[in-house]
């Protein structure tokens, strides 16, 4: 019997990422005990996120050619700034218009916490699928927002002194190792590009295995709205501006339209620093996790859809010019 699993992955938009992620989330929601039997099973399928992410970044680093080292930094900076600015603008806008309590049960703080933060893993996997090596390398800069740091800056809850330099370095390290080794050794570069799909599949699964559909239900409608806001404003809007700045059409910018799994911890981190926020923290956490699950599933589909749209338009344009020339 032959089932074309890989072909199926490729046919569904962002399938190589979304399908394992969904499978992981389903298993973790309904049979969480299965993933916690210990040994290599738990090591890989449940707690392997940071390890697989490291392996993934090595692969990504190896595919950046030394000639194009500037491009990832440039792209990464633009995406990070855009995501940050959009998040802060929305948060402060809601604060100005509706006040502290916000709207639809969503407070300005949650908006900032969720929007200014993106999942580096999802961005990087999508960039690998729909962009080139420099797009993937942009995650080196983008990873600054993969935690409560930028959110806290935006909220003024912390001074600039608290820059998590180590976290930044820890993200950069695998990319640098891959970059150096890959540029020195052509064989290693080939090996990495062969291993990449394998790593993506399991990384996505593990990301899914950290999620539960129950949190989505718990957060209710406000969580869903929050997820939609992230997708639309920090996904579509950021991509629109990103395309304008780069003067080229790409769907990769929309890949920052996610809320990172880490952002679930952000409300608690803020509450620890700023006690006035503490009463909102629980609800905010549930909303964040709902937004995480939702964006993790929908963002890849959105990017894939956008990518197809752009390619179709290009094709049409090309045929029009051909006709005109003819």
């Amino acid at each position: 019997m032959q089932v074309k699993v890989v072909k199926l992955f490729n046919r569904i938009p962002g399938g190589i990422m979304v399908i394992p992620l969904l499978v992981g989330a389903v298993i973790n929601t309904f049979f969480p005990a299965v993933l916690n039997i210990g040994g290599f099973t738990t090591g890989l399928l449940k707690s392997g996120t940071s390890c697989l992410m490291g392996l993934f970044l090595i692969c990504c680093g190896s595919s950046i050619s030394i000639k194009q080292v500037g491009a990832p930094l440039y792209k990464g900076t633009i995406l990070t700034v855009l995501k940050f600015v959009v998040g802060v603008a929305i948060g402060w806008g809601v604060q100005k218009v509706f006040g502290e309590a916000g709207i639809f049960g969503i407070t300005p703080v949650v908006l900032i916490a969720v929007i200014t933060n993106s999942s580096g893993s999802i961005y990087a996997t999508l960039a690998a699928r729909f962009g080139d090596a420099t797009d993937v390398g942009a995650v080196s800069v983008l990873s600054i927002n993969d935690g409560p740091f930028l959110t806290m800056v935006a909220l003024g809850a912390t001074g600039m002194a608290d820059i998590p330099f180590m976290a930044l370095l820890a993200t950069l390290m695998p990319i640098i190792i891959g970059f150096v080794w890959g540029n020195l050794d052509e064989d290693f570069k080939d090996l990495c590009s062969k291993a990449l799909p394998l790593v993506i599949i399991f990384l996505s699964f593990v990301l899914g295995a950290g999620m539960s559909f129950f949190t989505v239900i718990e957060a209710g409608i406000s969580g869903v709205i929050l997820g939609a806001v992230v997708l639309i404003f920090s996904g579509l809007l950021v991509n629109f501006i990103y395309c304008l700045i780069l003067r080229k059409k790409t769907a990769v910018g929309a890949a920052v339209g996610t809320a990172a799994g880490n952002s679930v911890a952000t409300p608690a981190a803020i509450a620890a620093v700023d006690s006035t926020f503490a009463p909102h923290a629980d609800m905010a956490t549930a909303q964040c996790s709902a937004a995480c699950v939702m964006t993790a599933i929908l963002c890849p589909i959105m990017v894939a859809f956008l990518d197809r749209l752009i390619k179709q338009k290009d094709k049409k344009l090309a045929s029009v010019t051909e006709n005109a020339e003819a």
Partner: protein, 310 residues
């Protein structure tokens, strides 16, 4: 620069070189592996990488050969256990509980009956075929204090580590199912395996501290050598006789797993009369773990070359 090719040319190099580098970095600059995030995640993530490796290996096992890994695994597990018990009991008979040259029967059994699954399976994938790697599903039974306890008579049947067996089999099973459902997945997983091995070996090395060899002194080094010679060479000979085949895979069980460092304490907790030997045994085993991890790949590679020439 041909870094990868050069490493692969060294006998057992794809495994031994990263392992040595990992152990060296962890000994000299341990804090550089602990900066957190994805760096620490990758360089200390041996169980995730091992899981990934097993998935890839599982995918290479064809549906019609499913019995062979089980058979090979049972043979290897049995050989390792019998050799360890024989040596331990022999020393006990001749020299008593204090043992000889600083090695007690207790530490001999603990180190000899236990093998490093990660090293076995990476060596099997390099020098054997998919069914050799699949044998890890059974061999993983000895990756803990269970067999040592049986050999020392310190356990009832209630302690069978069924869950750890299942936990080692699940990744293989996942790979096996996916690989047999879809040829494309099999190809995808097979081509990923070479990438996973060096990082898995590095992470394994990063859990070792070379200073422990010095701490354990002569007896620790001797223990390591005994494991490689008795269960490595011995495993090689007996395995080939049992299976009537020529191969070097039997030697790949000539290691002591990192888990075994905890075995003396676990056994001493179950049998108080062994408690006085536990502390020295742990240090000696820690040294043996490192020595066997470095020498066993070498032994397998040399045997492989020798076999090929014959």
């Amino acid at each position: 620069m041909k870094i990868l090719k050069t490493i692969q040319r060294i006998p057992g190099g794809l495994m031994a070189v990263p392992l040595l580098i990992g152990a060296f970095i962890n000994t000299v600059f341990p804090q550089s592996l602990q900066i957190g995030g994805f760096t620490t995640g990758l360089f200390t993530g041996s169980s995730a990488l091992m899981g990934l490796f097993l998935v890839c290996s599982g995918a290479s096992i064809r549906f019609n050969q499913v019995g062979i890994p089980l058979y090979k695994g049972a043979a290897l597990t049995f050989i390792k256990f019998v050799l360890g018990v024989l040596v331990g009991w022999g020393v006990q008979m001749i020299f008593g509980r204090e043992g000889v040259l600083g090695l007690t029967p207790f530490v001999l059994i603990a180190a000899l009956t236990n093998s490093n699954g990660a090293i076995y399976s990476t060596l099997a994938s390099q020098y054997g075929d998919a069914t050799d790697v699949g044998a890890i599903s059974i061999l993983s039974l000895n990756d803990g204090p269970f067999f040592t306890m049986i050999a020392l008579g310190a356990t009832g049947l209630a302690d069978i580590p069924l869950m750890s067996l299942v936990a080692a089999i699940v990744p293989i099973l996942v790979g096996f199912i996916l690989g047999n459902l879809d040829d494309d997945i099999r190809k995808l997983l097979e081509s990923g395996v070479t990438m996973v091995i060096p990082f898995c070996a590095f992470a394994l090395g990063a859990s070792m501290n070379l200073v422990t060899i010095l701490q354990a002194g002569f007896s620790g080094i001797l223990l390591g050598l005994l494991v490689v010679i008795i269960t490595g060479l011995g495993g090689f000979l007996i395995y080939n006789i049992l299976l009537r085949r020529k191969g070097c895979i039997g030697a790949a069980i000539g290691t002591t797993a990192g888990n075994a460092i905890a075995t003396p304490a676990a056994v001493a907790a179950a049998d108080v009369s062994l408690a006085p030997f536990a502390a020295a045994a742990s240090t000696q085993i820690a040294a043996a773990v490192i020595i066997t991890a470095l020498l066993c790949p070498l032994l397998v590679a040399v045997l492989n070359k020798y076999r090929v020439k014959v």
